[in-house]
Symmetry: C2
Subunit: 333 residues, 2 copies
C-alpha cells in the first residue's frame, strides 16, 4: 500500500515552540509543544526539535511518509530564509533549515511567523477561499502577513508587511524600533497595557486596574474586567479599537482587501476589540470601500495559525515541484 504523504509545521516563538503533523489536505493530525530555551544555543535547539519531530512521527511512519518541514520564526527574511537579529531568540543570522536537514533528508523551508499565520488562515482559518487579505498577529508586538491575488507579498528585500511600524501618531509613544507613534505601541498585548496606564493617569474612575503592576498586567485580565464593566478596561478597548479601526482604513486604501483578520493574544478579547474597531474602520473608510471589507477574528486556536501556515508553505512548494525535492532544498534552503 502506498504510504500517505505528510509534512511537519513548526512555529518557533521566544518562549514556546509548537509543531504539528499535517496531511496534504491541510488536516492537523497531531500537535506538540515544548520550551524553546534559545539561550542554550542553536545546536541544542536543533537537537531538541528533531527529537520532538521524531516523537510525533513515530506512530505514523508505518503508514505515512514525511515529505517536508516548514518552519515559522520571528525575523525570518522571506527571500533568504535566514533568521535575522531576532529580539526574542538568542541566535544571530542563523540558517536553521540547513541545520535541520542534517537530521531529516527532506526539503526544509523557513518563513516569517506573521506570513505563516496568513498562510494558516488561508489554508485552515478565517481566510479560506480568499485571495486578498491581511492578517495581523497581536502578540507582544504586531506582526502582519499580506496576501495579494492569492500570494504572500515579500517585497524587494523580503521585508514587506511591517505594519506594526506604520506611524499612527506624530509624537506618539516611543517604540522599540526607535521611532514614535508606531502602530504596535498601541495595538498589541503590550500596547493595551500602556493604554490602561495612560487612562489611569488621565481619568479618576475607580478600577481594579489600580491594584496591579504593569509587569503583572495581561490583556486577558483587561478583557475579564471589561466584561464586568470596569470603566477603565472598557475605555481601553474603545481607545484601542479607534486607533486600530482608523489605521486599518488606511491599510485598506493600499490593498482593497476582502478581509483583515485579527489573530494573537489581544484578538482573543473578541467583540470587546472587534466592535469598536469595526465602528471606527467604517467611519474613516473611503466611500468606495464602505461595507465591502470584513474585519474578522481568526477562527484558528491561538498559536495554531503559524504551525498550519508553515506546513502549508512547504506543501505549496512540494506541490509546485513534486519531482525536484532536492533542487528545492538546494536552492532555497
Amino acid at each position: 500500500m502506498k504510504k500517505k504523504e505528510i509534512i511537519v509545521g513548526v512555529d518557533i516563538g521566544g518562549t514556546n515552540t509548537a509543531l504539528g503533523l499535517i496531511d496534504y489536505d491541510c488536516n492537523l493530525l497531531v500537535e506538540k509543544n515544548f520550551d524553546t530555551k534559545s539561550e542554550k544555543g542553536i545546536d541544542a535547539y536543533v537537537e531538541c526539535l528533531s527529537q520532538h519531530v521524531n516523537g510525533i512521527l513515530k506512530e505514523y511512519l508505518s503508514t505515512h511518509e514525511l515529505k517536508g518541514i516548514g518552519i515559522a520564526a520571528p525575523n525570518v527574511n522571506s527571500l533568504t530564509g535566514i533568521i535575522e537579529n531576532s529580539v526574542n531568540l538568542k541566535w544571530k543570522n542563523v540558517n536553521l533549515s540547513e541545520l535541520i536537514k542534517k537530521y531529516f533528508n527532506v526539503p526544509v523551508k523557513m518563513i516569517n511567523d506573521a506570513n505563516a499565520a496568513a498562510l494558516g488562515e488561508q489554508s485552515a482559518g478565517s481566510a479560506k477561499g480568499m485571495k486578498n487579505f491581511i492578517v495581523l498577529t497581536l502578540g507582544t508586538g504586531l506582526g502582519s502577513g499580506i496576501v495579494v491575488d492569492g500570494n504572500l507579498i515579500y517585497g524587494q528585500n523580503g521585508q514587506a508587511g511591517e505594519l506594526g511600524h506604520v506611524s499612527v501618531k506624530s509624537n506618539g509613544r516611543k517604540c522599540n524600533c526607535g521611532n514614535f507613534g508606531c502602530l504596535e505601541t498601541y495595538i498589541s498585548a503590550n500596547g493595551i497595557r500602556r493604554t490602561v496606564f495612560d487612562l489611569i493617569s488621565n481619568y479618576n474612575e475607580e478600577t481594579e486596574l489600580k491594584n496591579i503592576s504593569f509587569n503583572n498586567l495581561t490583556s486577558k485580565y483587561i478583557s475579564e474586567l471589561a466584561l464586568i464593566n470596569d470603566p477603565i478596561a472598557l475605555k481601553s478597548f474603545n481607545f484601542t479599537g479607534e486607533i486600530l479601526g482608523k489605521a486599518l482604513s488606511n491599510v485598506a486604501a493600499h490593498f482593497d482587501p476582502e478581509a483583515i483578520i485579527l489573530a494573537g493574544g489581544l484578538a482573543e478579547s473578541g467583540d470587546l476589540l472587534l466592535k469598536p474597531t469595526r465602528f471606527y474602520f467604517e467611519k474613516y473608510l473611503l466611500d468606495i470601500y464602505k461595507d465591502k471589507i470584513q474585519i474578522l477574528k481568526s477562527t484558528l486556536q491561538n498559536g495554531r495559525a503559524a504551525v498550519m501556515g508553515a506546513g502549508n508553505f512547504i506543501l505549496q512548494e512540494l506541490k509546485k515541484n513534486p519531482q525536484s525535492e532536492n533542487v528545492l532544498s538546494m536552492k532555497k534552503g
Copy 2:
C-alpha cells in the same frame, strides 16, 4: 512584406486627451493632444477620439497594422473597465471600450490612469527593470499605481492603491472625499497651494506669494519663486517634503519596494521636492529599509507615462493571448 504591429495608447484627462502610436518594443512613434470637452457627451467624444486615432494612423497603415487600443482614464474600475462617477469627466458609469470598438475592430482595454502611469514608468520610464515599485501622480489630486512582484495590484474590488486618501493628520485638512487629513490635501498641486496660504497666515516674511490669489496660484510658480529663494515658497516645499517623506516611510512598511516614483505637475519641481522628501523619508524609515529604497522623479515627459502605460497594458494582453484577440475583447472590454 509583413506589416509591423502597433498599438494606440490614450490618456483621457479632465481637460486634455493625449494619444500615441506605440510599437511592440514600447517606442512612441507619434503623439497627439486634443481637448477632452466631456461636457459635450460621450458619443461626441468617441467620434472625436476615433478621428484623432485615424489621423495619427493614416501615414502608418501601409506599413503597420493596428493590433489594439489601451485607454487610461480617471476612476476606471480595473476589474470591470467601467469609468465610475468621475469628478472631472461628465460621464457616469460609461463602458468606453465597447463604444470605441464600433470604430476599430481590435481589442480595446481600459485602465485607471494612475495604474497606467505605473506601467508607463515600468516600460519606458524610471521603473524599467523593476518588479516592486509605487508611482504617485501628483496632479490636482494624488493618484497611485502599485506594482508587486512585476504586476499591478488591483485588490478585491479593483480599487487598490488609493494612497491619496490615506490619512496623515488627525483633524487635518478637509478633503473632497469627506475625510480630514488625507495625503492629497497636502501632496498635490492643490495641496501645496493650501500650504502656501497656511504659511502666509502663520509667518510674516515678505513674499511675492502675497500678490496672487489662490485660484491664480500654480505649483510651477511656487517652484520658480523657491528657485530665487522666496522664503515662503522654500518653506512650502520643505513642509510638503516632510509630510510626503513621512507618509512614504509608512508606505514602505507595507510593500518594501525598490523605488517610489513621483510623477505629475508637482513632481516637475524636481529637487525642491525630492531633497526634503528623501531626507524625511530616511529619517522616519524603519531601520531594515534604510538606504535600500529610492525616491525618484519620473524620467518621462509630464503626461506621457499614462499614454505609454495604457499602450503597454493592451500590449501585455496581446502578448499573453496572441491568438485570442476576440476572446479578449469579448471578455474584458
